[in-house]
């Protein structure tokens, strides 16, 4: 505990923590729209396409100036997005192939530029390669101001155009029909993925930045039933994973920040996919078992009821083997469960035959209730 307090009173660590919070907010808010619009691969392309921009920004400024670097990254990211759009609209190339080509092209160009810059004997070239995987400890106060400004602008835009973004994401056709400028809104949403990438340059780096945008949204999606809540929760997940990753990398020498942040976010995703009520894998499995059990029991009840009705004998005893072959499966378990609920009871019929079953009074009532709730819509 004292270790944590000490860590947090450190000036660099404070910077890192604030950077993590800003990154969490930006990627949480913007990632939700990217995930719901199924643009993960586009996000990956935009992130890799930021690398040549980083180098160009550096070359223009002549030093490691964050303002120029962010502007350059934003520029090449958006150019890549436009390139993919034109490629898929004008040619027969499919979107995923277009995105894949753009990713390879821009990232290769970025690495070439990077090695070119590092080959020059310039003292201020220091550590451009940290933008590959991020280096939280290198965050300066001035960087935070830039990150904060971009984050606030992005969040303000989302709040201002909330209903438009929501409708365009859910039902773009209806959005057009009611008169929203859908093409413009979609372009802005795409450009905002590039904004998130730029905010994450310092902390996570270009290689893993999509995961940072996507993961909090994917985790949040598991727990909520409204977009408003999804965005808030994604912000929370983003902040927590940013902080965890950044603090670990600050306290253990030479651990890369970006991968740690992404590992933290991915761990939260894994837990969410497993455990989230309603959508989690575990929950679904349990519901599946439970459904199978109750459906089995219900079917058994109605079968017994119909058999009795068919024989005009409310106490008609049905033999287990006959019920097995009617349902095409072993029915012993369902019958025992119904017996425990007091809905059926075994009766002695003829010696040498298998066990026979009859409905109890409660069983008959339950069977009638089940039959009544079986609407044609369910059938």
């Amino acid at each position: 505990m004292t270790g944590l307090v000490e860590l947090l009173s450190d000036y660099t660590v404070q910077n890192v923590a604030m950077g993590a919070v800003l990154l969490g907010i930006a990627s949480g808010v913007l990632g939700c729209f990217a995930v719901l619009r199924q643009q993960s691969l586009l996000g990956d392309t935009l992130a890799h396409a930021a690398l040549p921009g980083v180098c160009i920004g550096f070359l223009i400024a002549g030093t490691r100036d964050m303002g120029w670097i962010m502007a350059g990254a934003l520029g090449t990211s958006i150019l890549a997005a436009l390139f993919v759009l034109a490629l898929t609209r004008r040619t027969r190339i499919k979107t995923d192939a277009g995105l894949g080509s753009a990713l390879g092209l821009t990232f290769a160009a970025g690495v070439v530029l990077l090695t070119y810059i590092q080959g020059q004997s310039n003292a201020s070239q220091g550590g451009l390669d940290t933008f590959l995987f991020g280096q939280a400890a290198a965050t300066l106060r001035s960087d935070l101001w830039l990150m904060g400004g971009v984050t606030i602008a992005a969040v303000a835009l989302v709040l201002g155009c909330w209903k438009q973004f929501k409708l365009v994401t859910f039902d773009p056709e209806f959005a057009r029909a009611v008169g929203l400028p859908v093409a413009l809104l979609e372009t802005v949403l795409t450009a905002m993925i590039a904004l998130a990438v730029v905010i994450g340059l310092q902390m996570v780096g270009v290689v893993l930045m999509t995961s940072m945008v996507i993961a909090p949204a994917v985790a949040a999606r598991q727990w909520v039933k409204r977009l408003e809540h999804m965005v808030l929760l994604a912000v929370g997940v983003g902040i927590v994973s940013g902080l965890v990753g950044a603090l670990i990398s600050a306290s253990v020498q030479n651990l890369a920040t970006g991968p740690l942040v992404v590992l933290a976010a991915t761990a939260i995703v894994a837990v969410s996919i497993l455990l989230a009520p309603g959508r989690g894998v575990l929950w679904e499995q349990i519901r599946h078992w439970r459904d199978r059990r109750t459906i089995g029991q219900r079917q058994m009840l109605t079968t017994l009821y119909k058999l009795a009705a068919h024989h005009r004998d409310p106490d008609y005893p049905a033999e287990t083997g006959m019920l097995d072959s009617f349902h095409g499966t072993r029915t012993q378990r369902a019958l025992r469960q119904l017996q425990r609920r007091g809905l059926v009871e075994p009766v002695a019929h003829m010696p040498g035959e298998g066990r026979h079953w009859v409905l109890t009074e409660a069983g008959r009532r339950e069977a009638e209730r089940v039959l009544k709730t079986m609407t044609p819509e369910m059938a």
């Binding site: 155009c161 409708l167 209806f174 057009r176 008169g179 039933k225 809540h229």
Partner: protein, 281 residues
């Protein structure tokens, strides 16, 4: 001379844009052609629907019915022709148009509730920065009551049945408070209750003087539900009052050989005892 013709052209443009063109018709489509990748999907469509009717658009799969609705709503770009709603371009009449797209056109796993989706019907009426508020919520609740779904207002949309999804879309169109409603196969794949609710509601709209235009898939119910009919297959095969247009001849022209089986069901069955029988002659 050149100046004069430019001026005249401009006057004609603004007349068709700001003035009224065929104001007595709820929907007027003239010479409309829509092509996807050079292949015409709709060709030379002329279509007129008077106000206050409940009209069906029928035609085989791929006939261009959905495309026609999209072109009319400005969602698909026509290569030729024009569309007027109550005498003006659809763009100018946006607030007088209600739209129920095909149910399959959205991802129903989107994180939102029934009430939220219904409120989207007001988004086009709200100011740019305004968030939907209490008034919109109240309207949405009333629309949900109309489609008998008020008890599901807070439900996540991924948990709806097909019929319920369709009623949510209908409620969303209702709070658009339009004069002309366009619906794309609202009764396809829904349960009997939903179909009854939808048809009842559409008839109410028509009786209140609105125009209801429905892409319909079920030939059996055309005569029960509708009073106006357009039969479509890339071109318009026939249009007018259902009684005049719903004939085996027209259906055969639209559906080709595939109608042969259906025809017996739809025409010989319901024919009254006083209808002339061919084998009597």
């Amino acid at each position: 001379m050149a100046l004069f013709s430019t001026l005249r052209k401009r006057a004609a443009d603004s007349a068709s844009y700001h003035g009224l063109h065929e104001p007595d018709l709820a929907l007027h489509v003239e010479d409309l052609t829509v092509a996807y990748e050079g292949k015409p999907v709709l060709w030379d469509i002329d279509l007129n629907v008077p106000p206050g009717v409940m009209a069906a658009i029928i035609g085989p799969n791929g006939a261009g019915k959905s495309t026609l609705l999209k072109a009319v709503l400005g969602l698909a770009r026509p290569t030729a022709g024009h569309v007027c709603i109550h005498g003006r371009s659809p763009r100018a009449q946006r607030r007088r148009i209600g739209y129920v797209p095909q149910r399959s056109s959205v991802d129903w796993d989107f994180p939102t509730t029934v009430l939220d989706v219904v409120m989207m019907g007001r988004y086009g009426h709200l100011g740019w920065l305004r968030w939907p508020g209490a008034r919109e919520r109240e309207r949405a609740r009333r629309a949900l009551e109309t489609v008998q779904m008020e008890h599901l207002a807070g439900r996540q949309i991924s948990q709806l049945s097909g019929g319920q999804q369709q009623r949510v879309f209908l409620a969303r169109a209702l709070i658009q408070e339009a004069d002309v409603y366009f619906l794309d196969e609202p009764m396809a794949g829904v349960d009997a209750t939903t179909e009854r609710v939808i048809v009842g509601l559409l008839k109410e709209l028509r009786d209140a003087g609105k125009t209801v235009i429905v892409v319909h898939h079920d030939l059996q119910t055309v005569r029960d539900y509708f009073d106006w009919l357009a039969i479509l297959n890339v071109r318009v095969v026939a249009q007018g009052r259902v009684a005049d247009v719903y004939t085996g001849e027209h259906l055969k022209r639209a559906y080709g050989g595939r109608i042969a089986l259906l025809e017996r069901e739809a025409f010989e069955g319901p024919r009254g005892p006083d209808a002339p029988q061919e084998n009597d002659a």
